[in-house]
């Protein structure tokens, strides 16, 4: 029995490495970069967990996965028990195992990280979730409670909405998701590239929700096709998780030249519509040989790595501060570098220069240096006089962020918004309207998949409580 392994022996095991596709090969295709652990590697990694009493990793998880429990079952090679725990706690474990910033969450709290390397919780989550997808026959069927007769509407089929849907369906409520696009997943599908999160993973996680009785209606834009007041009449509670809105513009000259994209458009073309990626796709995308991405977050990394895969000789990150301040995950930065992405740091765009036909020809930039820390706590970039220069490019992608989507809120005048147009919600997701809850980017502005999922989970708990008190 693996339980008999001593703490000393557990401590002696070194952290496993994620097998990756070769960087020169993968930088020209859309196959998933991380290949996943073997069973042997996963069990060995799971045995590194010393099953400490305080379980700080669980505190670090926005959806409170019982990490030591599923890792413990995995260490014993009891995969169906591990999968049962994981799927109970997390509606989208195969997604989280791939896109969560574990290094800042569960893994950052792991006691093994104090002296050495933390347990690779993300890799293990992915391993167990993937195993579960391929071995559905070996999984215990989720026993649903008797129907409560209550109906909940969820606006948006992204990470927050899907998580809330799973939780509410398992509490016995009838759940209906209204999705504006023609497919599931929200940002998971239109935003996150195939090489980080294969679309089949989303399909398979959504299918599991379908088995819980969750229904999804596509092409319904709440605020346009139907309104929030209509939903409130028809349903006992509403959870709004319609995500981020339009891009924040750079407000520099040349932004509307041909060949200038906002990150959402570029990624949507390639990810959701299959442009440049799927043979049958009819949606086009300008591929570009020299592509500049403005921004330093995960979205910027997704864009720049996509540009490489679409054939860019130079795919460049243009960022005002230094690599140290970049909000992107370390893994994304590492992968991007391996794939030949150039990091042009301490550089700000001044304008986008066009040719006589209205196409992008260059990005006019200025060098920056770091000054005093600003309100965000990061050092404020200060322009270096006389350092202006032009970088020849044929595609520019703006990945600096997004604003709140106004479509739903425009038809719900009683719903309290903050000054940026985001919905005001308390820590349980409750809004200013009775029975209306909200979470994810429509509340937070631009955040992460896992924080949206955390909102979905806590709001679902609050909705459940609210419905049972009615």
């Amino acid at each position: 029995m693996t339980n008999n392994i001593s703490v000393k022996d557990r401590m002696a095991i070194e952290r496993t490495r994620m097998p990756e596709l070769d960087a020169t090969v993968r930088s020209r295709n859309f196959e998933e970069v991380n290949q996943g652990l073997s069973l042997e590697a996963a069990i060995q990694e799971a045995q590194r967990c010393i099953q400490c009493k305080n379980r700080p990793c669980v505190e670090g998880c926005p959806v409170s996965v019982s990490i030591p429990d599923f890792v413990g079952k995995l260490a014993e090679n009891d995969l169906s028990a591990a999968a049962h725990i994981l799927q109970r706690d997390n509606a989208l474990p195969a997604v989280c195992g791939r896109v969560c910033p574990q290094e800042h969450q569960c893994e950052s709290k792991c006691v093994r990280g104090v002296k050495g390397e933390s347990v690779a919780i993300g890799y293990l989550e992915r391993f167990v979730a993937d195993w579960a997808m391929e071995n559905t026959d070996k999984l215990e069927k989720v026993a649903l409670p008797p129907p409560t007769g209550k109906k909940v509407a969820i606006v948006g089929c992204g990470p927050a909405g899907l998580t809330a849907a799973g939780e509410l369906a398992r509490a016995g409520h009838k759940v209906m998701i209204f999705e504006a696009l023609h497919d599931t997943g929200g940002v998971l599908r239109y935003g996150i590239p195939e090489f980080r999160l294969p679309k089949t993973i989303i399909d398979s996680e959504v299918k599991r929700l379908g088995e819980l009785g969750v229904e999804i209606e596509f092409n319904v834009i709440v605020g346009k096709t139907i309104t929030l007041p209509q939903l409130r009449e028809e349903f006992d509670a509403v959870f709004i998780a319609n995500g981020a809105g339009l891009p924040t513009m750079l407000n520099i000259p040349g932004e509307n030249l041909k060949g200038v994209y906002a990150a959402n458009e570029y990624l949507t073309r390639v990810n959701l519509m299959g442009a440049g990626r799927l043979p049958g796709a009819t949606t086009p995308v300008i591929k570009g040989k020299h592509v500049a991405i403005i921004g330093g977050g995960n979205t910027a990394m997704d864009c720049v790595r996509t540009a490489r895969r679409l054939g860019a000789d130079r795919a460049m990150i243009i960022y005002r501060r230094t690599e140290k301040e970049m909000p992107a995950r370390l893994e994304e930065i590492k992968h991007a570098k391996e794939e030949g992405v150039e990091f042009i740091m301490l550089t700000a765009p001044l304008s986008i220069v066009g040719d006589k036909d209205g196409w992008v020809s260059a990005l006019a930039c200025q060098k920056m240096e770091l000054g005093e820390p600003d309100a965000s706590g990061r050092c404020k970039p200060v322009p270096v006089a006389g350092s202006e220069y032009e970088l020849p490019v044929d595609v520019v992608i703006n990945a600096v962020g997004t604003n709140a989507n106004p479509l739903l809120t425009a038809t719900a005048p009683d719903l309290s918004l903050n000054k940026w147009g985001n919905i005001v919600a308390d820590e349980n997701g409750m809004t200013s309207l009775e029975g209306v809850f909200a979470g994810g980017d429509i509340v937070r502005g631009g955040a992460t998949v896992i924080l949206a999922m955390g909102d979905g989970k806590s709001s679902a708990a609050a909705i459940n409580k609210w419905l049972s008190s009615k």
Partner: protein, 276 residues
């Protein structure tokens, strides 16, 4: 899935399709559009809602088959289905009682103009409709528009119907005559036509509105592809539009951006022809 209830040709490559879409029919107002995606793998295409029947739960789309995707959409037979239709999107036209209005339509833009002109007439405006096209067979909806317009003026470039020339000639005559001069102008058609109308009414500062048709993907306020320069700033046709103050619109930028994928479209059409 959205069922096609009728599909008629009303001009060269121009189809009128009636489609069952009860939710959209109930919510839609003049000036709004839908995003249509025929089938898996196909593009999302913005199309203005030409008309709707709330009782029957139907919407009418006027579709000019100019590219590979629109050709496939109009090839859908009665009883066939369109996979995705999302909407109604965009802001409805602001309808008010201006008094005398001129509604100017060019090509398939006339179909987009139709619900707007009707709503203006219903609001008690005196509507003069000016429709133009290259030749008589491209003049559409003239009887439908005549039903509520005080006057319908037609121009064709080849003189095969109405006055020979452009819609701006008729509009120019109206502007020059104080007894006919409109209090507001609505123009929908090819970008050069809308630009010419805007230039014509600028001097007299007559409120002029155009409905823009930029490249769009999601249409729901997410991707930012539909941005147009209005009054020197970027605005998004899907949430801020599609109608804008014509005197503020940078038509040259809109025209240039519409050409972003021209080469791709030509190649795509050639490819589909070969497959056939």
């Amino acid at each position: 899935m959205f069922e096609v209830l009728s599909n008629t040709t009303i001009g060269p490559s121009l189809h009128r399709m009636v489609i069952r879409a009860p939710r959209i029919a109930a919510a839609r107002k003049p000036g709004q559009f839908v995003i249509v995606r025929l089938a898996e793998g196909e593009e999302r295409i913005p199309l203005t809602i030409g008309d709707a029947n709330m009782a029957e739960g139907t919407i009418t789309l006027f579709i000019q088959a100019v590219g590979a995707s629109t050709r496939m959409i109009v090839a859908t037979p009665v009883g066939g289905f369109i996979r995705d239709i999302a909407g109604p999107l965009g802001k409805p036209t602001h309808i008010e009682r201006w008094g005398r209005v001129a509604c100017v339509g060019g090509g398939v833009g006339t179909a987009v103009l139709y619900p707007l002109a009707k709503a203006l007439a219903d609001a008690g405006n005196q509507v003069t409709t000016i429709i133009g096209g290259r030749a008589a067979n491209l003049i559409i909806l003239k009887d439908e528009l005549a039903a509520f317009s005080d006057n319908v003026l037609i121009t064709t470039e080849d003189g095969s119907m109405g006055r020979k020339g452009f819609v701006t000639m008729e509009l120019g005559d109206m502007l020059a005559d104080p007894a006919l001069c409109p209090h507001a102008v609505f123009a929908i058609g090819p970008v050069p036509m809308m630009k010419a109308v805007a230039e014509l009414t600028r001097a007299q500062a007559i409120p002029t509105f155009v409905s823009l048709n930029p490249i769009m993907i999601d249409g729901t306020g997410m991707c930012g592809g539909c941005r147009v320069t209005v009054g020197g700033v970027s605005m998004f046709a899907c949430v801020d539009g599609p109608e804008f103050d014509a005197h503020q619109v940078d038509f040259d930028n809109l025209f240039a951006r519409l050409g972003t994928y021209r080469e791709h479209e030509a190649a795509d059409c050639r490819l589909k022809e070969q497959v056939k």
